[in-house]
C-alpha cells in the first residue's frame, strides 16, 4: 500500500514542481530522494507487514510478501536507473521534471499490477503503466524515429487493451459467480466453459503482447529502437518485469486450476519466443536492436515460470526479474555513453575505458547465464521449476539450446571490447563521472553477490 500511494503522490509533486522549479538538474535530485523514501517505506512494510495507510480497498488489492518483494526489486532497480542514467534523462528534452513524474506514475502502475485482486485493477494498472510509456517513447520530439515508435506503440497498445477488455468481459460473463475477483473466478471454475476459454485466450494474447512474447512481439524492436535509449532501458526492464508478475498472478490465481488445459498454449508461445528472440538477435548489427531482441529471448525464459507454475517458478521469477533488470540497466547505461550503437562501436573499449568494459562483461555474462552471476541462478531456478513440472522436458532442452545461441550474440560484444582494435581515429570525450563508474562496479558486485546467494532475495518471499 505504501508504495502505491506514495508513488502517485510523488508523481503529482514532481509534475507540479516542474512549474515552479526552473533548474534543470534539481528534478533529478528530487526524484532520487523521493524514490529512496518510497523504497524505505516499502521495505518497512515488507519487514513489519503493516502499511502506513489503512485504506478500505474492498479486497481489490491483495498485498503479500511476494508482491512486496517484487515491488522492492522494481523500486531498487528504478533507483539504480535514476542514479546511473539520471544525467541522460536530462539530456532527452526540456521538460525534465515531467519525465520523472511520468516514471513515478509508471511505478504506481507497476505496484497496482503486482498487487491486483480484481480484473478491474489489473486493467487500470496496465493502462497507468502503458500511457506514460507511450509519452516517454515519443519524448524525443524532433526525432522521426521516436515519433514513429510512439505512434506504433500507441496503436498496438490500444489494440491489446481492447483485446484485454474483451477478454475480461467474456470471463466476467462466463463465470458462474459473476465477479471480477480473481479468486472467485478460480473457485467458480468447474470445467472450461466456452466463454471463459475464449476470454482466457484473449487475456493471454494481450498479456503476451505486454511482455513481448512471440508471435505478439513485432512492436518490440521498433519501439525499443526508436525510443530514447534511457527510456528503452526503463521499459525493457522494470515495466516488462511488472507485466510478467501481472501475467503470472492472473494466470496462477484466476486460472491456476485449469493449468493443464492452457499449458500447451503457453508451451508453444514459450518455444516460439525463445526461438524468434534468439535467432533474430544473432543477425543484429546495432547493439540497441540486439538488446531489444535479447529482451524477447529473455522473456521466453521467464515464460517458463508460467509453463511450470509452482513455488520454485515464483522464486525463480523474482530472481530472474532482479538479475535481468540489473544487467540490462547496466548495459544500457554503458550503451548510452557510446557514440556508435553498432557492435563495431564497442571495438577496443577495454583499452579506452577498462572499467566500463569489465562491468559490461559481467552484465553480459549474467545475461548469458554463466555461473557466479545472478543470471545463472535465474536460469537455474527456471530450469528446476520447469523440470519439477514434469511435462514437456523437450521444452527445457530447447530452452538450453537457445541459451547457447544467446552466448553467440552476447559474446560478440565481449569480443569487440577486448579483442578488437578501435577503428575510430579520434577518441571521443567520454561523459563519465567517477560516481558513474563506482555505481557500475557496485551493480556488477551486486550481480555476483546475487549469483552466489540468491537467498538474499528469495528469503523475503517467506518473511
Amino acid at each position: 500500500m505504501n508504495a502505491i500511494i506514495l508513488t502517485a503522490i510523488w508523481g503529482i509533486v514532481m509534475m507540479f514542481g516542474g512549474v515552479f522549479i526552473k533548474s534543470k538538474t534539481a528534478p533529478k535530485y528530487w526524484a532520487i530522494t523521493g524514490l529512496a523514501i518510497i523504497l524505505i517505506a516499502n521495505c518497512i512494510e515488507l519487514y513489519t507487514g503493516d502499511s502506513f495507510f489503512h485504506v478500505e480497498v474492498k479486497n481489490m488489492l491483495h498485498v503479500n510478501s511476494f508482491n512486496l518483494t517484487f515491488i522492492t526489486v522494481a523500486l531498487s532497480c528504478t533507483l539504480l536507473f535514476f542514479l546511473l542514467s539520471g544525467r541522460d534523462i536530462e539530456k532527452v528534452g526540456s521538460s525534465v521534471s515531467e519525465y520523472f513524474a511520468l516514471i513515478f506514475f509508471i511505478l504506481c502502475g507497476v505496484c497496482l499490477v503486482s498487487t491486483f485482486n480484481t480484473l478491474l485493477i489489473l486493467f487500470i494498472g496496465i493502462e497507468i503503466m502503458s500511457i506514460p510509456l507511450y509519452i516517454l517513447t515519443g519524448s524525443d520530439k524532433r526525432n522521426l524515429k521516436s515519433n514513429e515508435a510512439a505512434l506504433k506503440y500507441f496503436l498496438m497498445g490500444a489494440f491489446s487493451t481492447g483485446i484485454m477488455l474483451m477478454g475480461i468481459a467474456l470471463v466476467y460473463g462466463g463465470n458462474s459467480t459473476g465477479s471480477f475477483y480473481i479468486d472467485n473466478i478460480n473457485l467458480g471454475l468447474g470445467k472450461l466453459p466456452v466463454l471463459i476459454a475464449a476470454g482466457l485466450v484473449l487475456l493471454m494474447i494481450s498479456m503476451s503482447f505486454k511482455v513481448s512474447a512471440a508471435p505478439f512481439h513485432f512492436w518490440t524492436p521498433d519501439v525499443y529502437d526508436g525510443a530514447p535509449t534511457v527510456f528503452t532501458s526503463f521499459m525493457s526492464t522494470i515495466v516488462k518485469a511488472a507485466s510478467f508478475i501481472a501475467f503470472i498472478r492472473l494466470f496462477d490465481n484466476a486460472f491456476g486450476k485449469m493449468h493443464d488445459q492452457w499449458q500447451l498454449l503457453i508451451t508453444i508461445i514459450t518455444a516460439a519466443t525463445l526461438l524468434i528472440g534468439n535467432l533474430t538477435a544473432v543477425f543484429q548489427q546495432s547493439v540497441k536492436r540486439m538488446l531489444a531482441y535479447s529482451s524477447i529471448a529473455q522473456a521466453g525464459f521467464m515464460l517458463l515460470a508460467l509453463f511450470a507454475l509452482n513455488e520454485t517458478a515464483k522464486e525463480g521469477l523474482i530472481i530472474y526479474t532482479a538479475a535481468y533488470s540489473l544487467a540490462t540497466i547496466g548495459i544500457f547505461a554503458i550503451l548510452i555513453k557510446m557514440n556508435d550503437y553498432t557492435i563495431d562501436g564497442f571495438n577496443g573499449l577495454a583499452k579506452e575505458q577498462p572499467v566500463l568494459a569489465v562491468t559490461a562483461t559481467v552484465f553480459l555474462l549474467s545475461l548469458t547465464g554463466i555461473p557466479l552471476t545472478a543470471g545463472f541462478q535465474a536460469k537455474f531456478f527456471m530450469l528446476i521449476a520447469a523440470v519439477q513440472n514434469g511435462h514437456s522436458i523437450w521444452l527445457v532442452i530447447f530452452a538450453v539450446f537457445c541459451a547457447a545461441i544467446s552466448a553467440y550474440y552476447y559474446f560478440k560484444i565481449i569480443q569487440a571490447m577486448f579483442f578488437k582494435e578501435s577503428n575510430v581515429a579520434v577518441a571521443h570525450d567520454w561523459d563519465i563521472t567517477p560516481a558513474f563508474k563506482a555505481l557500475l562496479i557496485i551493480t556488477a558486485v551486486l550481480i555476483i553477490v546475487l549469483g552466489l546467494y540468491p537467498s538474499l532475495l528469495t528469503q523475503w518471499l517467506y518473511y
Binding site: L383, L452, S455
Partner: protein, 494 residues
C-alpha cells in the same frame, strides 16, 4: 586427522590459494615480478598438493570432506573432498603449472599480469572441479574453469583465435547446459534432507532412485558434456582448431589437464550415478572411442602442422582412456587413473618441444623443418624420450597405463582390443615419422639458425623426462593412491 579441528583443509587450500594468487597477480605491474610471483605461487600450490597426499592418513573416500552451508534451502552446500582420484588429478594440475610457467618463462605477453592472473584462475577452477563433492559446486567450477581459458585464447592466441575459441566455448557451454538439465533431473529424484526436499550432495546423487528409462535418457545428457570436453569422436571438431590457435601455454593446460575434466566427470559422476545405463551403453561408447582413435591416428599421420599433429595424437590417446573406463574392469580403470597423470605429463613435454621449435624457426610445418638434431642434440635426445612415451614403449610411464588399459579392454571384448591395438602401431608411425622429418634429414635454411636450448629449458624438459622414466620404472605409488577409489567404483557394477 579430524577435519573439525583444523580451520582449513587441503581441498579448500587447493582452490583458494591459486585463486588468491591470481587476484594478487592482477595488481602487480612489473612484468618480471609477475612471472616470478606466478611461478612461485604454483610451486607453493605444488607443495600443498604433495602435502595433501602425504599428510592425510586416510586415502579411502570422502573422509576429508568439508562442507559449508550454501543455498541450504535447495539442498546445495559448498562441499569439497579428496579421494585417490582427486589426489592424482590435483597433483597433475599442481605439477603441470610450474612446468608450463618455467618452460614459457621467456615468452613475452602483452599485459602479462592479466595473462598470468587468468592462468592462475584457471588453475583454481580446475582444482575446484577435481575436489567438488556437490553437484552444483561441481557445475560452478566446471563452467568457471572455462571462462578464463576463453579470455586467454581469444586475447593472446593466433590469427584465427576469435572464431576458434568461440567454437570451443559454444561447444562446451552447450554441453554443460545439457549436463545442468541432467543434474536437475537427478536432483529431483534424490532423497530429502533435513532442510530441503532434495539434495545436490554426491552421496545423495549416488543413491538417487532412477528408473532404467530415466537412467538411459539422463546418461546421454551427462555424457555429451563430458564427451565434448574429452573430446570423443564425433564431438572433437573444436579441438584441433582451439589447440592450434591458443597460445602454447594455454594449449598445454587445455590438452594436459582440461581434457581430464571429461574423463574425471565420467569416473566421478556418470558411472556411479547411472550404473545400469553405463553397462547398457558401454559398447556404443567404446565403439565411438575406438573409432575416434583410429580416425584421429590416421589424420595425425598426414598432418603437416605440429600443433594439429599433437592435437590429433591427443584425441587418439584420450579415446583409449575412455574406452578403458567403459570396460569397467579393475585393471582397466586403474590403468586410466595412472594414464590420466602420465598423458598430462607427456603431452605437456611434447608441447614444450613444439613451442621451442616454433620460437626458434617461426614455423610449425613439418615439411619445412629438418635436421634439427644436428643443431640441437640435447633437445633431440629429450624429445625422443618423450616421443617414446607417446608411443608407450616399455620403461616409459605410458607403457604401464596403456598395458593395463588394453588388458581391461581385452577382458571386455577381444575385437575392440584388437582394433584399438592398431592405434599403437599407428602412433609409432606418426610419431617416428614426425621425428624423422623434423629432427633428422637435411638441415635447411630455416633450421640452420637453430641454437641449442638454454639451461632452464633443458632443466624443465629433463624434469619431464625424469618423471616419465621414474613412473615408468616404479609406478607403484600412483597405484596405491587410486587402488581403493577404483575398487569402490568397480564394485558398483558387480
Amino acid at each position: 586427522m579430524n577435519p573439525a579441528n583444523i580451520w582449513i583443509t587441503f581441498p579448500e587450500l587447493l582452490i583458494w590459494f591459486p585463486l588468491l594468487a591470481g587476484v594478487i597477480t592482477l595488481f602487480i605491474k612489473n612484468d618480471k615480478s609477475v612471472k616470478a610471483w606466478a611461478l612461485l605461487s604454483t610451486i607453493i600450490t605444488l607443495v600443498i598438493s604433495i602435502g595433501s597426499i602425504c599428510c592425510s592418513g586416510d586415502k579411502y573416500f570422502y573422509l576429508n570432506n568439508v562442507s559449508y552451508y550454501w543455498l541450504q534451502y535447495i539442498g546445495a552446500s559448498f562441499s569439497v573432498g579428496l579421494d585417490g582420484m582427486g589426489r592424482i588429478l590435483t597433483l597433475l594440475t599442481a605439477v603441470s603449472f610450474p612446468i608450463i610457467f618455467t618452460a614459457t618463462y621467456k615468452n613475452e605477453y602483452k599485459n602479462s599480469n592479466l595473462f598470468y592472473a587468468f592462468m592462475l584462475l584457471t588453475q583454481a577452477g580446475l582444482m575446484g572441479v577435481f575436489v567438488a563433492t556437490d553437484a552444483l559446486v561441481f557445475y560452478f567450477f566446471w563452467e568457471l574453469a572455462l571462462i578464463p581459458v576463453y579470455f586467454l585464447c581469444s586475447r593472446w592466441g593466433g590469427e584465427k583465435r576469435i572464431q576458434a575459441t568461440f567454437k570451443f566455448f559454444v561447444y562446451t557451454f552447450l554441453g554443460s547446459l545439457l549436463m545442468l538439465i541432467g543434474i536437475i533431473c537427478v536432483y529431483q529424484h534424490t532423497a530429502s534432507t533435513e532442510y530441503a526436499p532434495h539434495s545436490f550432495a554426491i552421496q545423495a546423487f549416488y543413491s538417487a532412485h532412477l528408473s532404467s528409462m530415466q537412467q538411459n535418457c539422463l546418461f546421454w545428457l551427462f555424457f555429451v558434456a563430458f564427451a565434448i570436453k574429452m573430446p570423443i569422436f564425433p564431438f572433437h571438431t573444436w579441438q584441433p582448431d582451439a589447440y592450434e590457435q591458443s597460445p602454447t601455454a594455454v594449449t598445454m593446460v587445455l590438452s594436459g589437464i582440461m581434457v581430464k575434466m571429461g574423463l574425471y566427470g565420467v569416473l566421478r559422476w556418470l558411472l556411479p550415478i547411472f550404473p545400469a545405463a553405463s553397462i547398457k551403453f558401454s559398447s556404443i561408447v567404446i565403439f565411438l572411442s575406438v573409432a575416434g582413435m583410429i580416425y584421429a591416428s590416421c589424420i595425425a599421420i598426414v598432418q603437416d602442422d605440429l600443433k594439429r599433429f599433437a592435437a590429433y595424437s591427443s584425441i587418439a590417446h584420450i579415446g583409449l582412456m575412455c574406452a578403458a573406463i567403459f570396460s569397467m574392469t579393475q585393471i582397466g580403470v586403474e590403468g586410466v587413473m595412472i594414464q590420466m597423470f602420465n598423458h598430462g605429463i607427456n603431452i605437456i613435454g611434447m608441447w614444450i618441444v613444439i613451442d621451442l621449435l616454433e620460437k626458434q624457426t617461426g614455423v610449425r610445418k613439418i615439411s619445412q623443418l629438418g635436421g634439427v638434431a644436428h643443431k640441437a642434440p640435447a633437445l633431440t635426445i629429450l624429445l625422443v624420450v618423450i616421443a617414446f612415451a607417446n608411443i608407450a614403449l616399455p620403461l616409459t610411464n605410458a607403457f604401464v597405463g596403456e598395458f593395463m588399459m588394453f588388458s581391461g579392454l581385452f577382458k571386455f571384448s577381444i575385437w575392440y582390443a584388437a582394433v584399438a591395438g592398431l592405434s599403437i602401431i599407428l602412433a609409432a608411425v606418426y610419431t617416428l615419422n614426425m621425428i624423422q622429418k623434423v629432427f633428422y634429414g637435411q638441415v635447411n635454411t630455416l633450421t640452420s639458425t637453430i641454437k641449442e636450448i638454454s639451461l632452464n629449458e633443458k632443466f624443465i624438459l629433463s624434469v619431464v623426462v625424469i618423471l616419465i622414466l621414474a613412473i615408468g620404472i616404479f609406478p607403484q605409488p600412483l597405484f596405491d593412491l587410486t587402488k581403493d577409489t577404483v575398487a569402490i567404483l568397480v564394485t558398483r557394477f558387480k
